[in-house]
């Protein structure tokens, strides 16, 4: 069930100049409901006429014991910048949990999670869930430069990690889609989130190699819960809402390949 609830910011740490990790808990202390990797929250940015709509952010991790949601935030424009400036102790209103979630792989499938930039956000939660379900997730993380790759230590604790940077400051130099692991290893399932051109390239690679592949889309979302029909993606079933039927799609449903 979706809810609208005030949260308190427990901490807000700058991971680099532009990326922030916010940890938030319900102000009223109510226990959080079950949430699944791929789902997102819709966050209200206070007191601003230029930032009128809520901003969607993936659930980066759900710490059930601490009753805490983690949000990994890239300061990309006015709204995210404002959120990045919020301090521990301040409160923030969320609508959550929204959207569908990544599906679980089949038993013993070899799986790779590919994240570009802040697109790694939902993959930490997914990786931890996969690990707890007995899978052995591997990660391929990329960015322009080393500091774009966030939460490396958390990913390393969750599975094997491959990295690429465009300037070669960490891991392989070049684009994420050119990492040798994609040539050397035959994966059965790929999950990916990141800039759209990257996801399209990965979807093409997966389709070409007959690998099952799920992507998480970031279409602009006024409402986040199916009321406005603005967030649509063209699929084989026509225009459908990314906020309710996504954000996670199997590439077979999309019209990216042909």
């Amino acid at each position: 069930m979706k809810q609208k609830l005030d949260f308190i910011i427990n901490s807000n740490d700058a991971l680099n100049k532009q990326i922030f990790l916010l940890k938030v808990s319900p102000k009223n202390g109510a226990p959080l409901p079950d949430m699944y990797p791929g789902q997102f929250v819709h966050l209200l940015v206070h007191d601003s006429s230029s930032i009128f709509l809520r901003r969607p952010l993936s659930i980066n991790y759900f710490d059930k014991e601490k009753n805490e949601i983690w949000l990994l935030l890239l300061s990309a424009g006015g709204g995210t910048k404002r959120i990045s400036e919020m301090k521990a102790g301040e409160s923030i209103n969320l609508i959550f949990p929204l959207g569908n979630s990544f599906s679980l792989p089949k038993p013993r499938q070899k799986i790779l999670l590919i994240g570009g930039g802040v697109g790694t956000a939902p993959l930490l939660f997914l990786g931890k869930r996969l690990l707890s379900e007995g899978f052995e997730p591997e990660f391929l993380l990329g960015g322009r430069t080393a500091i774009d790759i966030s939460q490396l230590e958390h990913f390393e604790r969750t599975g094997k990690v491959y990295t690429t940077t465009e300037d070669g400051s960490l891991g392989e130099k070049g684009l994420i889609t050119h990492h040798p692991v994609l040539e050397e290893t035959k994966f059965d399932k790929i999950y990916t989130c990141g800039p759209r051109p990257m996801m399209v390239a990965i979807a093409k690679y997966a389709a070409h190699n007959e690998i099952d592949c799920e992507v998480s889309l970031e279409n602009h979302m006024p409402c986040g819960f199916g009321a406005c029909l603005c967030c649509v993606e063209k699929t084989k079933r026509g225009n459908i809402c990314v906020c309710t039927e996504g954000p996670v799609f199997n590439i077979k449903e999309l019209k990216w390949i042909d």
């Binding site: 709509l53 006024p222 409402c223 009321a227 406005c228 029909l229 603005c230 649509v232 993606e233």
Partner: protein
């Protein structure tokens, strides 16, 4: 709670707070947030005779205190509404009103006929003001003759409450209101969105796939309020006012300007519980001002 009762044509509403077409889905989207039976009514998504895919993404651009949309009436058509949606929404304990659209006069009439016999659809809202479709929509709403002809044709096949939704993209909105009143409309609702556009300066491209779209949200409120006031002074039929309502105070302002009832649109996206908060706020206001019936406030602007 009779203090909040209002009438629109043959409809008796438990309170004057309703939700605007295209901003409230079919109501289902909001059941996690609010008790729908606390609303006066729900205007469901724009419905057409045939299914429509709507316009291409991007269909939305955020603006200062508002947004532009060019959804373009995406819906699965009236047959799907009858078979798959109506059976579900007819259980809701509030008035469910369908927003009827078309490309031609015949489309509007056929779509209306398909809805006319449904027990739990006590009214329709004829949308002659959608700025986001190439054919029909606003074309009907910007001239007195075409608006009058359309209402006349629909009135012939529809006995229940007929609400006509007016476009603000005209020079004289009162004139259009008078024209549809003369053809037997039971009520007018206003306003629909204002035609606008947004440009990405860096890319030198329009932000909407359709270049232009409809502006809604708090930024349009002063203009919408002025239009309600102008129409109130011109017509005798009840007015359903809307345009940027985001709290109870806005709602009271629309009522004072002459609205018998109001609709909340875009703000449902920001605050999905805003509609019931408005109902509570209106009651508190009435208590504070010793007002027995909301009807005593309609058009009671002191000037």
């Amino acid at each position: 709670m009779d203090r909040l009762k209002v009438n629109i044509g043959k409809l008796e509403l438990r309170n004057p707070v309703m939700t605007a077409s295209g901003t409230f889905g079919y109501g289902d989207e909001f059941t996690d947030f609010i008790d729908l039976s606390r609303l006066g009514g729900i205007f469901v998504k724009g419905t057409t005779l045939e299914p429509r895919q709507g316009n291409d993404y991007p269909r939305m651009a955020e603006t200062a205190s508002g947004m532009l949309n060019s959804v373009g009436l995406q819906n699965k058509g009236v047959d799907y509404f009858l078979s798959d949606i109506y059976p579900r929404i007819k259980e809701y304990d509030t008035h469910m009103i369908v927003n009827v659209n078309g490309s031609t006069l015949e489309d509007y009439v056929a779509c209306t006929e398909a809805l006319a016999d449904l027990d739990k659809i006590p009214a329709i809202e004829l949308n002659i003001s959608c700025p986001n479709v190439k054919e029909g929509g606003m074309i009907f709403g910007i001239s007195c003759t075409s608006a009058a002809n359309l209402v006349k044709a629909v009135r012939k096949v529809y006995d229940k409450t007929l609400i006509v939704k007016l476009s603000p993209n005209v020079t004289d909105i009162a004139e259009i209101a008078l024209a549809v009143e003369a053809e037997g409309a039971d009520s007018v609702s206003l306003v629909n969105t204002f035609l606008g556009m947004a440009i990405d300066a860096e890319k030198r491209k329009p932000k909407l796939s359709t270049v232009t779209g409809g502006l809604s949200g708090p930024c349009i409120k002063p203009i919408a309020l002025r239009m309600v006031w102008q129409v109130y002074k011109a017509v005798k039929i009840p007015i359903i006012g809307m345009g940027g309502i985001s709290n109870w105070k806005d709602a009271i302002e629309f009522i004072l300007a002459g609205s018998q009832a109001i609709q909340v649109g875009t703000y449902n996206f920001i605050n999905p519980t805003v509609s019931v908060e408005i109902v509570d706020g209106i009651l508190e206001y009435m208590d504070r001002h010793n007002i027995d019936s909301i009807n005593d406030l309609v058009g009671k602007l002191d000037y």
